[in-house]
């Protein structure tokens, strides 16, 4: 085959049948998907249904995360189409199946950084990466910035494309011109599959990204902002990751106002990029955004038009083997928790009833790297306390956490006397985590211990690939 022949190879497919003939999908392969479209994703459904139709069995599903919209995979675990799952998080039916021991193999949970590492060091060998992209051209260049289903950064997909044996771009918009903004180069693309729709971009903001919180969220956000402002860190030219959801959005608004009033500017905002961070970029209170995942489709316009809004891949974001991972330059990180214990260990994956309800995301990576790690959480949710003597699942070890901010007060780890002094000097009351625990159980009483079997339902990896904790099948 000479170079002219290569150019003539048609990468564009309109039918999965033809596509699978070309790329050769077989039993036992590992295939991957990314979750940028979150609850709006329709790509995984179309691909897996087509795989099921041709009778391929024993597929390992390596997803950057799985949401409620992926409940249909339960049937595929039942008929053997899918045999293993590796992900950052699980929800809905799949979470229930894992905990009840119905999965053929324990689920492997990795943070985003850990997955980037696993892909690059060969622990996770992806045979075919199916990458949802909102636009592609006939050569196989792709992005998530153009087309009717544009959703922003393609940060997870980029790294998959670079490391998978084969890469299939799945899109609903084939550009007749070569794309101007190229997130995934044609060099990595084996095929472009055209589908009627890759999904509903409104689903990007669903679930934990809801903007409207309750009044308690506002109190937590105000406490977090106050803590950041008074913790002793010089905010001008510092780097911050704030996460998503109602609390984070409100923290962003507080900090934007504070920085604007004082003419200060964050060096960069990292991670999931919300509309509020984009507002901060436009207001000049943050110099740059490093966007591995856009939590608002409006980010598309910003990435395309603001040279300081950078799309980064997950390797750049948080791969611990990458000496220049952006997380390593973080000064302040605000993270969430389903539970936190009095040894500061944090759980973001399972709830206090043992159910799998969340995802690791970048939690471990960011907490390990940031100079100050703040956990923001209510003291209790409904009647269930968030602070425990011992969390059900250790996702992020306590050594990587510095501050807990709740709606009922702020606790700082004893070893961070610098922060305690700074906050106290500013008139902010600092508690011990044990004090908050006592406050918590004064409302909820001591929680009962949940019983599990000794059968492993999930393995939670640390960023370096070692086992951080196990999730066991419930009794």
């Amino acid at each position: 085959m000479n170079s002219t022949d290569v150019i003539k190879v048609n990468k564009v497919f309109n039918s999965f049948e033809e596509l699978f003939k070309q790329i050769q999908i077989n039993d036992g392969m590992t295939i991957s998907f990314h979750h940028h479209l979150r609850e709006g994703d329709n790509v995984m459904f179309q691909v897996l249904k087509s795989i099921q139709k041709i009778g391929v069995k024993g597929v390992t599903l390596a997803c950057t995360s799985l949401m409620n919209t992926h409940d249909f995979i339960a049937d595929m675990l039942g008929d053997g189409t899918v045999s293993k799952i590796q992900t950052s998080g699980l929800k809905g039916k799949l979470a229930c199946m894992a905990l009840s021991g119905e999965m053929p193999e324990p689920v492997i949970f990795r943070s985003h950084g850990s997955r980037a590492r696993a892909v690059s060091d060969g622990e996770l060998k992806v045979d075919i990466a199916f990458i949802a992209a909102s636009a592609a051209d006939i050569f196989g260049n792709a992005n998530a910035l153009d087309g009717p289903s544009a959703f922003g950064s393609l940060g997870y997909g980029v790294w998959e494309a670079k490391n998978a044996k084969k890469t299939v771009i799945v899109t609903d918009y084939l550009s007749q011109s070569i794309l101007r903004d190229i997130s995934i180069s044609q060099s990595y693309t084996d095929a472009v599959m055209i589908v009627p729709s890759i999904g509903n971009t409104a689903g990007v903001k669903a679930g934990s990204l809801k903007e409207k919180g309750n009044p308690r969220d506002s109190v937590i956000a105000s406490n977090v902002a106050n803590t950041i402002i008074n913790c002793g860190m010089e905010l001008d030219q510092s780097a911050i990751q704030m996460g998503s959801g109602s609390v984070s959005l409100q923290v962003g608004r507080h900090l934007n106002g504070y920085m604007k009033e004082r003419g200060k500017k964050f060096k960069f905002g990292l991670g999931g990029i919300t509309q509020d961070l984009i507002d901060m970029l436009n207001d000049g209170t943050v110099d740059s955004l490093l966007d591995v995942q856009s939590f608002d489709p409006k980010a598309c316009y910003s990435i395309k038009n603001n040279k300081n809004h950078h799309e980064i891949d997950v390797n750049t974001y948080a791969n611990p083997l990458n000496k220049s991972s952006a997380v390593n330059f973080l000064d302040i990180a605000v993270l969430s928790a389903t539970e936190i214990d009095t040894d500061w260990n944090v759980n973001v994956l399972t709830g206090s009833d043992g159910s799998i309800i969340g995802a690791i995301g970048g939690h471990q990576d960011v907490a390990a790297a940031s100079k100050i790690t703040i956990i923001a959480a209510p003291l209790f949710r409904n009647r269930i306390g968030v602070i425990r003597k011992k969390v059900n699942t250790v996702v992020t070890p306590g050594e990587n956490v510095d501050i807990l901010v709740t709606d009922f007060g702020i606790a700082v780890k004893e070893s961070r006397q610098d922060i305690i002094k700074s906050l106290t000097d500013k008139g902010i009351k600092v508690l011990k985590i044990e004090d908050l625990y006592k406050k918590c159980i004064s409302f909820t009483s001591e929680p009962r211990t949940i019983s599990f079997t000794d059968k492993v339902a999930g393995i939670v990896q640390a960023p370096d690939g070692k086992v951080q904790d196990y999730i066991y099948k419930k009794v």
Partner: protein, 287 residues
């Protein structure tokens, strides 16, 4: 005793009661009246009583809004909460001085029965009718135990058969008389709630209007209103700074009865005003 924001909390909603102290309201009112259906009065009373005994309100002053004195619930409400951590009770729909005397006597009686210190339980009342407005002075003077008068605009406009507007022109006379009389009688004056919880600009204007009448604080119905009300009923940074400088000058001059500050005469009442502002707001609370 200075409350900028006094937040209503439904007495039949445990989740709201248990977090009611975190929003920064200067005082909260656990409500047994309008937010509780007639068939839930008993359970709400039990819930509020239990909450007052079990919860730590973290220094927030707590009132309980009882049902009105002409209802069958008033004495039961009072009895259920008297021996708790309450600062006082808030009695709605008061129209005449006789009701104040009745409330005072009822509290005095229960204090004796429970062995509580005389005068421990304070009370505020709400004026919510035309007759109530006309009788404010007599109401204010009827009891030493009465600490404040609040205005209830919804029932007032209903009583007057007038429409309540956001601008509140129809309330101007009543609010003005209430604030004026309360101040004259040494009571605090608490403005009515602003019902549109999503209209922050409207809330701001309403607070400014209330403040211009002489109201000392405002009732709020949503945690999201607390911060704005506190801010608007607090003195400005410049006012606090001026208070600090006046006090410094006063001390530097050896605490004279009258002195001059930046060309203006400062006598005892003026000094007291500045001392009060500085005491309440002059402490360093971080950025």
């Amino acid at each position: 005793m200075f409350w900028r924001s006094i937040m209503y909390v439904p007495g039949n909603t445990p989740s709201m009661i248990q977090s009611s102290m975190i929003y920064g309201a200067d005082a909260i009112v656990l409500d047994l009246e309008d937010s509780v259906e007639e068939n839930e009065k008993d359970s709400a009373r039990n819930l509020v009583s239990y909450a007052l005994k079990m919860l730590d309100f973290s220094g927030t002053d707590v009132f309980v809004r009882t049902n009105s004195v002409d209802s069958k619930h008033f004495l039961k409400d009072l009895a259920a909460v008297a021996d708790t951590c309450i600062y006082g009770i808030r009695v709605p729909k008061v129209q005449k001085a006789e009701e104040i005397i009745y409330i005072d006597q009822s509290i005095t009686k229960i204090e004796k029965e429970l062995g509580l210190p005389a005068g421990k339980i304070k009370f505020m009342v709400s004026i919510e009718s035309a007759l109530g407005v006309l009788n404010i002075k007599e109401i204010c003077l009827a009891s030493q135990r009465l600490i404040g008068i609040a205005f209830g605009a919804e029932d007032f406009t209903y009583d007057m058969s007038i429409k309540r507007t956001k601008e509140g022109k129809e309330l101007a006379f009543a609010r003005s008389v209430l604030a004026l009389t309360a101040r004259a009688c040494g009571k605090i004056a608490i403005d009515c709630v602003f019902s549109d919880t999503k209209d922050s600009e409207g809330l701001k204007k309403d607070c400014e209007t209330a403040k211009s009448f002489g109201m000392t604080g405002k009732s709020v119905i949503h945690p999201g209103q607390v911060e704005a009300v506190n801010e608007l009923f607090s003195p400005s940074v410049q006012e606090v700074d001026q208070a600090r400088r006046v006090i410094e000058q006063y001390e530097k001059l050896g605490c004279p009865g009258v002195f001059s500050f930046e060309g203006n005469m400062v006598d005892l009442p003026v000094l007291k005003k500045y001392q009060r502002i500085y005491e309440l707001y002059g402490r360093d609370k971080g950025e």
